[in-house]
Structures are given as C-alpha cells and as structure tokens.
C-alpha cells in the first residue's frame, strides 16, 4: 500500500468515473462543440499510479479519430454517412487536438495524490480559436487518449512517453446539437449545470 519506485512499465492509468461513462456509451455518447468552446460531460477523470514520486511529468490529452467515417443520426440511430472530412488544420498548421493538463509540469507525487480531472477542457469547431481548446469536426467520432510524459531535467534530453491509455467507453461523436434524447436525459440528470431542466418528479415541498 505504500508508494514505491516502479519502472516505467508499471505506470498504471485508470478511468475514475467509468460507470457513468458506460451509461452514456450504451446510447452512443455525444459531445457538443461550439465556436466559443464547450466543456465535456461526463468529465474525463483518471487515476495514475506507479510514477516516480520525485520525477517531473506532464500529462496530455489527445482526441484520436476513431474511424474514417462521417456519421448522421437517422431513425433514432447513428449511421455511417460517407467518408470522414479531412482533419482541418488550424492557424499553426496543426490539428489542435492535444491538450496539456494545466498542472503540468509537476512531480509524480502530485499526480498520484488524487485523481486528475480534465474538467476545464473545451471542445470547439472554430479553427480560429486560439484559447488552447480542442478542435473537432462535428459528426465525427473520437476517443480521448491520456498520455503521461516524463521530463528529463526539462529540456536537456527528449521527453519520454511513459504511459498512455484510451478507454473504449469514453468514445463519443462530436455534434453541434444533441441528436439522441436518451443522451440528453442522461446529461440533464447528471450534470449539475443542467439542473434547471430536471423534472422535479417527486412530491417534494
């Protein structure tokens, strides 16, 4: 139970709130993208272990394209609708799908102390957006990959990827408006910011 110095191969990444993600995944998760950037719900939360408590790490999140297809929602189901659009490039000629966790860089001890949350991450469909948001194409599928990078005395030698993981239940389709009512209901039921849309259901008061 006490933390120990482990070789890189023992670095472990776990999805903290996997159960909630599975409830969405069951109905095909949708995430809103907007011009100004929209947070994800559920939030991506991971637990790290096996890091060197005193070494310095950065943690990245990358949105990986899951298929070569474009999708549409038809007759209550998501179906393929042709080949994927080519990934658009931003002003810096990059795909802009990588996000650095704001606590980076930090010692392993800090990363392992408590689950790390990507709640501040924002998804956008606006290529001109410069606010470090993640650029995605609507109606395309993605899966988040978390990447742990060890920094060797910062810049003296190349950073080294010591672990990376993507969880199938966190796969989602980017949309500009929700398509599936079941997904909407799960968002309303579980996201505190959507409380205003909940039925009060019971005989309270």
């Amino acid at each position: 139970a006490s933390p120990s110095l482990a070789p890189s191969s023992d670095v472990k990444i776990e999805l903290e709130n996997a159960e909630l993600w599975r409830r969405f995944h069951e109905h095909t998760t949708e995430m809103i993208v907007t011009k100004t950037g929209r947070r994800m719900f559920p939030t991506l939360r991971y637990r790290l272990s096996g890091l060197d408590p005193n070494a310095t790490y950065a943690v990245l999140l990358e949105m990986e394209s899951v298929s070569d297809c474009r999708y549409k929602f038809q007759n209550g189901r998501w179906v393929v609708a042709g080949r994927a659009d080519p990934p658009p490039l931003d002003a810096n000629h990059r795909q802009g799908r990588t996000y650095t966790h704001p606590d980076s860089p930090a010692p392993g001890r800090i990363w392992m102390r408590q689950p790390l949350s990507f709640h501040r991450i924002k998804l956008t469909n606006n290529l001109l957006d410069q606010n470090a948001h993640i650029h995605l194409s609507s109606m395309h599928r993605y899966v988040p990959r978390v990447i742990v990078v060890k920094l060797h005395e910062y810049f003296t030698s190349m950073p080294q990827v010591v672990a990376s993981a993507s969880f199938p239940e966190t796969d989602f389709i980017a949309v500009t408006a929700y398509q599936n009512e079941k997904v909407i209901q799960l968002k309303i039921d579980h996201n505190p910011f959507a409380k205003g849309f909940r039925d009060n259901g019971g005989a309270e008061r």
Copy 2:
C-alpha cells in the same frame, strides 16, 4: 518597440494599476484576512519586459513585513501599538508568505505578452491552511514584492533571481474587519463583487 534579447539587468517590472493603488494608499490600504482565505483588492497587476523570450521563468510574490510594529486604529487614524508579534510558523515551519504565480514555469514570451495578475491570491490568518494561501498577522503591515526567477534547464543548476520589485503604494495593513470608512467606500466603489453595497446615487428606478 520590438522585443529584444536583453541582459538580466534590463528586466523591468511595472505596476499596472498604480493609480487605483494610490487612491487606497492615500487612506492607508487595508486587506481582510480570514480563516478560509480572502482575495486582495485592488488586485496586484504587473507588466514585465526585458526577459529572454525563450528562457523559462517562474514569478513569485512575497509579502514582506514593513515594520517591527503592531498597529491599531484609534480616533480615525492608524497608530503604533507596540512591537510586532513574532511571525508565526506554519506546519512546515515556514512563514508561508510566498506565492508562486500559477502560470509558472513559462517562457519569457508568455510572461511579457500581457500584464500578469495575482487576482487568485488569498490572504489568511489560519496557520493550518494548506491551500497555498498567504499567511499574515492581523494588525501588521506588509508590502508585496514580486520576484522573477530564471530556471536554468529546470533543476540542473540553481534558479537565479533576475529581477524583483516592491511598490510603496501597494503597502497595506492586514485586518479581520475594515477599520477606515474611506477604505470601505473605495472597495465598494471599485470592486465589482461589492456592487450590492453601492448607493445607486442617481434617480434610477
């Protein structure tokens, strides 16, 4: 007007919102300290120039004790009330008066791009507070000092202080409740969060 590579001695630190600070200073600035931590108003805002755009820096803020005295507010004035209490030590046996700007470490280019703000800093009188707040003693005087540290390849050699500055107009007395009505009025008039206490003054509704 174009940024240039300057030797450390040309690093410049300016107080961004000096005029507002002077209006408070005129009446002796007071800052509230609480158990849970209270923000400062006015906010400390500085402008940096003359850094190496590509070198890595951290920016710190330290609260320096200004006098050996304890103060009290009597007959509408701040007067000396004996010798200062010894600075209490926190659980880590440190005075806990240094705050690292959350953007640290970052390249000089980033620090110079826009004024840097310490609006998230919180003052506390609670020694058990572990939330990286600044510990101060009520009824004592302090002046904030901003310190720019150059990080040489992170940990390979000692960090080097390349500049530091404290501005007399940012001097203040820590209090648990405001003493001077003029200071209260300036806070209410200028802090957006205190808008609820403003007289609507005009003939509006």
